[in-house]
């Protein structure tokens, strides 16, 4: 327990110290203000704008922003799929299964574009080094940047303040309400700036440390019983974790000694998992000019995280079941890594989750089920969290007898309609699709059902981690169904979020008063936690009762 806490506090210390300066820098980047790297990056950005004909000063409405995002990701998907399909001209790579190769490539392309990185097949056997470097490596940056861009657009919508204008010359007339539309920013500019100014420097910095710490970066093959192909592992590794992608260079992911050679790299990986999400909170606080709101959210998440770490650490220690961990990384380090990876939507794994204590498995699946809001997979987790905040404000705000509002924006039918879509989409994807898969598969036991549920939760929440090995992951039905789950989980949620942002940006800001529901402080934090837990609990309790809970209960019986 003490070890886990020391590790956790170390991680938060590093993130906490870096959060403010990096947040300030990132804010400047997003506000298009002067930054350190301008001299070097401005010419590159200008060239990109010119080549792609990007109207730099055009402010987009939510519809434009959304369609830009979808087009951008769609192109990325097509590019990746074609790249995978043509890679056999260079190296023939396709695992030996009865599933058609193109379906595997389709699934992989979707999984990389949607920031899920669900890898049912070993990547080193499925993809060439070239595909990994050019296709996957690029997508690691761009999928993370897309998520961040949407989150930033959402944050911008809280800041806009539309005024009712009326004809001053005829004050006796009842004014017609005219709105000045002020929009969400420009997606293309956001993508360029986020990638060049923010993700790239971070990744280069972290990548260099990896190289120093012994992660290979270079070409060649290591001779031996099982010859190992080397590649640009350090550079991929840094953005894999920073961008909460989580798809490894090797099948063993972060348990592989090349990807994660020592406890030092292990620590660095855990730091990078929650670093960007925390920076986003800092940016949020700056944008709405009230950090206390951001910290309230951060503290609520922290409470959930601490709770899960405490319970997992205690129960693992008590029962002395730590699972099949890498001796090099340590039992405590591996447990914490597993919790963090499922919390943050990263999905990189350093051990086999299915060997952990059943209670820890339940906690892992619950954390994933929350949709990576707990320190958020970059961007999308943050959006989901704000959606839950809006839902909380709506439910509890009614109880103070006032039309609910968050950060001065009234929450009315259009926003609730979208929130409702979000909270309906996720169970529809997880529960509905696992019902489909159950229908398509022959009967199985609770263990294999648990794997189905885990797989769908993992793909819907764009996490990408898996619960041990299972033949069920590689069936044709599973590939199709995870495709749909990733699509719904990523783009369904992001579209609805942008729609809310659009309607918020058209609203004027309501000043705070004594009657306004306080949306910061401990009371609100506990309400938020309560709403998140009860909402998700109500939705997933029955399915968990059939999958993970029986194991937990039967262990309790034995004891």
């Amino acid at each position: 327990m003490v070890k886990i806490f020391l590790l956790l506090s170390g991680i938060f210390l590093v993130c906490g110290v870096l959060m403010r300066p990096v947040g300030r820098y990132f804010w400047n980047v997003l506000m298009r203000q002067r930054t350190l790297l301008d001299g070097f990056l401005d010419p590159i950005a200008t060239t990109i704008y010119q080549i792609c004909h990007i109207p730099v000063h055009h402010d987009q409405k939510w519809g434009e922003y959304l369609s830009s995002m979808l087009i951008f990701n769609g192109c990325g998907f097509v590019f990746l799929f074609l790249l995978f399909q043509t890679q056999h001209f260079f190296e023939n790579q396709c695992p030996v299964t009865d599933v058609p190769c193109w379906l595997i490539h389709l699934n992989l392309a979707m999984s990389y574009v949607s920031n899920t990185n669900w890898q049912p097949f070993a990547p080193e056997q499925t993809l060439s080094t070239f595909s990994l470097m050019v296709g996957v490596g690029t997508q690691y940056f761009l999928s993370a940047a897309s998520g961040i861009a949407v989150a930033i657009a959402f944050v911008r919508s809280f800041k806009t303040n539309q005024q009712i204008l009326y004809d001053q010359t005829h004050p006796d007339d009842i004014p017609t309400q005219k709105y000045h539309e002020r929009y969400l920013g420009n997606f293309w500019v956001d993508i360029v700036r986020i990638t060049l100014w923010f993700l790239l420097p971070c990744a280069v910095f972290v990548g260099c440390i990896y190289v120093i710490l012994g992660v290979p970066q270079g070409w060649g093959t290591l001779p031996g019983l099982n010859p190992l192909t080397l590649g640009p592992i350090a550079s991929l590794e840094s953005i894999k974790i920073l961008g909460s992608n989580g798809g490894g260079y090797f099948e063993a992911n972060s348990a592989h000694p090349f990807e994660n050679p020592s406890s030092a790299t292990h620590f660095l990986q855990m730091v990078s998992m929650i670093f960007i999400p925390m920076v986003l909170f800092e940016v949020f606080g700056r944008k709405i000019t009230d950090s206390r709101h951001a910290y309230t959210l951060l503290i609520s998440l922290f409470c959930i995280l601490i709770f899960s770490v405490v319970v997992s650490g205690w129960i693992s220690g008590h029962a002395d079941i730590w699972g099949a961990y890498e001796a090099r990384l340590g039992a405590h380090g591996s447990l914490l890594f597993s919790i963090l990876t499922n919390s943050s939507g990263c999905g990189a794994t350093c051990m086999d989750h299915s060997t952990l204590h059943p209670v820890v498995q339940l906690i892992l699946v619950c954390k994933m089920m929350l949709g990576a809001i707990d320190f958020g997979s970059v961007g999308s987790g943050f959006c989901l969290l704000i959606s839950y905040v809006i839902l909380t404000v709506f439910l509890t705000g009614l109880m103070v007898g006032r039309t609910p509002e968050y950060l001065g924006k009234k929450i009315e039918a259009p926003e609730i309609r979208m929130i409702v879509l979000i909270i309906l989409l996720t169970p529809l994807s997880i529960l509905g699709l696992s019902a489909c898969l159950c229908y398509l598969s022959p009967t199985g036991d609770i263990r294999s059902f648990s794997r189905i549920v885990y797989m769908l939760i993992s793909t819907t929440s764009n996490n990408g981690s898996a619960l041990g090995e299972s033949g069920i992951y590689t069936t044709q039905a599973a590939l199709w169904i995870t495709n749909i789950a990733m699509l719904m989980g990523r783009y369904g949620v992001l579209s609805a979020v942008l729609c809310i942002a659009g309607s918020f940006s058209k609203k004027m800001k309501i000043p705070r008063s004594n009657a306004t529901l306080p949306t910061r402080g401990l009371l609100f934090a506990s309400l938020l936690i309560g709403t998140i837990l009860i909402c998700n609990g109500l939705i997933y309790f029955p399915v968990l009762c059939l999958s993970f809970i029986p194991d937990v209960l039967s262990i309790a019986v034995v004891e």
Partner: protein, 671 residues
């Protein structure tokens, strides 16, 4: 008596409301109805022993019926209330004045807008309208319950008459302004009866949420048979339906419209007519409140509190002049001057003969008495100076400035200065000033403090000058004033605050208030006000009591709070229902899940049955709360929230555990 009737009618209506066409507006209840029909069909079609399925089907029907009954009950109560108001309007006869001057007697419902009717003493007024000629004392007790008659006269802001009220004296001619059947009361009855009830914006948002919750539980429950089939053990469909019905938010779904109707009803009870549900809801959001000084903040009557003699004038002389000028003054102000003179200065009423009394008039702005050639007048300070100068020529500079300074001091303290003059045929003497003070209504300060704690900014509209207005505002705890207000001032003030995102409520009665009433988010017109004001407003106060705006805000807030509280309660209830039903449903093939039966319910069958019974009975238990509304205390939002979350959130989690356990024990005892 009335109660029993409403109860019986509601029972019948609950049955009638079972038809899917009526239920289509409430998808949650429609779902329950489908479940009930399906399970009944299963019970009937499979003849062998059904176990608890028969009882389950019965309780599903009961759930729909009870929910329908709740709605019918709320409607019935509202209707009874509105009918009471309407009663007075039935079987009215109207005496229409035709163009050629002849009179024509027709039934009131045939009246057209623009008709002019004559109403004699003792007759009932046939329709809402404005008096065009005449003055009358009118008994409005049939709508307000107040037995004191009120005076209505043509022109000005007191010209409006309401259908069903009785003319006590004289005769009036009134122009009908509203078609009978479309009056404010008729609109309100339509709102309560549901024929015109549109969901309010907030209600619509809540409906979306409830709809989504229902959808989620369709997915949650609908996917279960696939899972259990995969695991190799099928589930009983009736039990699944029972699980589904207990999970969907039937509590709030069944009571939602009852809450809305009950809100209207509470408004009717305080004699306020709302023209739309939207305005009631908007009232809960109000954070700026505008009202007139006179009648709201002050009693309207001012009292004398001090006399200030002019330089070189004896106090005794001034007191005598003041008292003499007021000796026949019937107004409250005059009486208070006499009282002050008698109590403070031991002035005794002389025997007065041969006097002429000049009452106050708008033109002279003075009143007074003439006794044996000497006159005593009091009046507006500047008017008095003009009067004196017209006899005595220009007053000495320092004398005048001392007088005006004193008058300024009085204004500054929130009073009205009255000048006093003695005039003996040729010469006029300026004697001094009377300090008349506005009497702030008692208990008002607490009311405004409450408003402040609710986060509402109060604004006073007054014709007074800025200094006087500020002083009164400070004394009563009002945040802002609009002094010497013109209609444009009021309108632009509302604009200004709305632009900043505030919701403004305003009450008014005059035609010149109409634009402001229309612009305000909540405009409350006084029933005594003009037709234009009533047309522009979205609420009408039958008692014409401007302070009622506070009660209206409370009703609006209460309605939102009741909705929020019941939604939270409904969702929180599901936790316990899961713990009752899930172990019962799954423990046959996953025995470990038996440990989730934390309530130690006697058997799986009774566990499910208890949950369904609890789900139906909680509707009955919460109906009084829905009708009465959640208790509302003016307090900061954080405090209200903590209180309500504890009661309805935490209570909602705990209560069903106890309830289901008790029902289970009862079932066991009965079997």
């Amino acid at each position: 008596m009335g109660w029993i009737r409403i109860f019986l009618i509601s029972l019948l209506k609950a049955l009638w409301k079972l038809n899917p066409w009526t239920l289509r507006q409430n998808p949650i209840l429609l779902m329950v109805l489908c479940g009930a029909i399906y399970s009944t069909w299963i019970v009937i079609s499979i003849p062998q022993d059904q176990g608890i399925n028969t009882q389950l089907a019965g309780w599903l029907w009961a759930t729909v019926l009870i929910a329908n009954f709740c709605e019918a009950m709320a409607e019935g109560r509202g209707k009874a209330q509105a009918q009471f108001l309407k009663q007075s309007q039935e079987n009215l006869q109207a005496c229409v004045i035709l163009e050629n001057g002849e009179l024509n007697l027709i039934p009131a419902h045939q009246l057209l807008v623009g008709d002019i009717v004559r109403v004699q003493a003792g007759e009932l007024i046939p329709g809402d309208g404005d008096i065009v000629s005449g003055i009358a004392a009118i008994d409005e007790s049939s709508i307000t319950g107040e037995s004191d008659p009120v005076i209505r006269e043509s022109g000005g802001d007191r010209s409006s008459v309401t259908a069903g009220t009785r003319v006590l004296s004289d005769s009036i001619d009134a122009r009908i302004t509203t078609k009978p059947g479309e009056t404010a009361i008729d609109k309100m009855i339509a709102l309560v009866e549901g024929t015109q009830r549109q969901p309010t914006p907030n209600e619509r948002a809540l409906r979306y949420l409830l709809f989504a919750l229902t959808g989620i539980f369709v997915v949650v429950v609908g996917s279960l048979p696939f899972y259990t089939r995969y695991l190799g053990s099928p589930l009983d469909n009736v039990l699944l339906i029972a699980l589904f019905v207990t999970l969907i938010p039937t509590t709030i779904g069944g009571l939602l419209s009852a809450i809305g109707i009950a809100g209207m009803n509470r408004l009717l009870k305080i004699n306020v007519l709302a023209m739309s549900g939207r305005s009631v809801e908007a009232a809960g959001d109000v954070d700026v409140m505008m009202f007139d000084k006179t009648g709201t903040v002050t009693t309207g009557a001012r009292r004398a509190v001090a006399f200030y003699p002019a330089p070189g004038v004896e106090m005794e002389e001034l007191v005598n002049a003041c008292a003499m000028s007021s000796i026949f003054d019937e107004t409250g102000e005059g009486k208070s001057i006499l009282e002050l003179a008698k109590v403070e200065y031991a002035w005794e009423t002389p025997i007065v003969e041969n006097h002429t009394y000049t009452p106050f008039s708008a033109a002279t702005r003075m009143s007074g008495i003439e006794v044996d050639g000497t006159s005593f007048f009091k009046g507006a300070d500047r008017k008095i100076v003009e009067f004196v100068q017209s006899y005595a020529g220009p007053l000495p500079e320092d004398f005048l400035s001392a007088y005006l300074d004193q008058s300024h001091v009085i204004s500054k303290e929130g009073g009205t200065p009255l000048g006093v003059v003695r005039h003996d045929g040729k010469v006029a003497h300026l004697l001094g000033l009377i300090f008349l003070k506005d009497q702030i209504k008692s208990g008002l300060k607490q009311k405004f403090t409450q408003l402040k704690r609710m986060g509402i900014r109060t604004v006073m509209i007054t014709g007074d000058n800025e200094i006087t207005a500020q002083v009164i505002a400070q004394e009563a705890g009002i945040d802002d004033v609009i002094p010497q207000a013109t209609p444009t001032d009021k309108l632009s003030y509302i604009h200004k605050w709305q632009e900043m995102g505030h919701n403004v409520a305003m009450c008014g009665d005059g035609t010149n208030d109409a634009p402001a009433l229309a612009q305000a988010d909540v405009g409350i017109a006084m029933n005594t006000g003009t037709a234009a004001a009533k047309e522009a407003a979205n609420m009408i106060d039958l008692d014409s009591d401007p302070t009622k705006i506070i009660a209206v805000v409370a009703v609006g807030k209460q309605m939102l709070m009741t909705r929020g509280a019941l939604t939270t309660f409904s969702v929180a209830n599901d936790v316990a229902k899961y713990f009752a039903i899930i172990p019962a449903l799954f423990s046959p093939f996953i025995p470990a899940l038996g440990r989730l039966n934390v309530m130690q319910l006697s058997s799986p069958q009774y566990a499910i049955l208890s949950a369904v019974i609890f789900n139906a009975l909680i509707l009955v238990a919460l109906l009084p709360l829905a009708l009465r509304g959640v208790k509302f205390k003016p307090a900061p939002a954080a405090k209200t929230l903590r209180h309500n979350v504890l009661i309805y959130g935490l209570g909602g989690v705990i209560a069903p555990f106890a309830g289901i356990k008790v029902i289970d024990l009862l079932l066991k005892a009965l079997s």
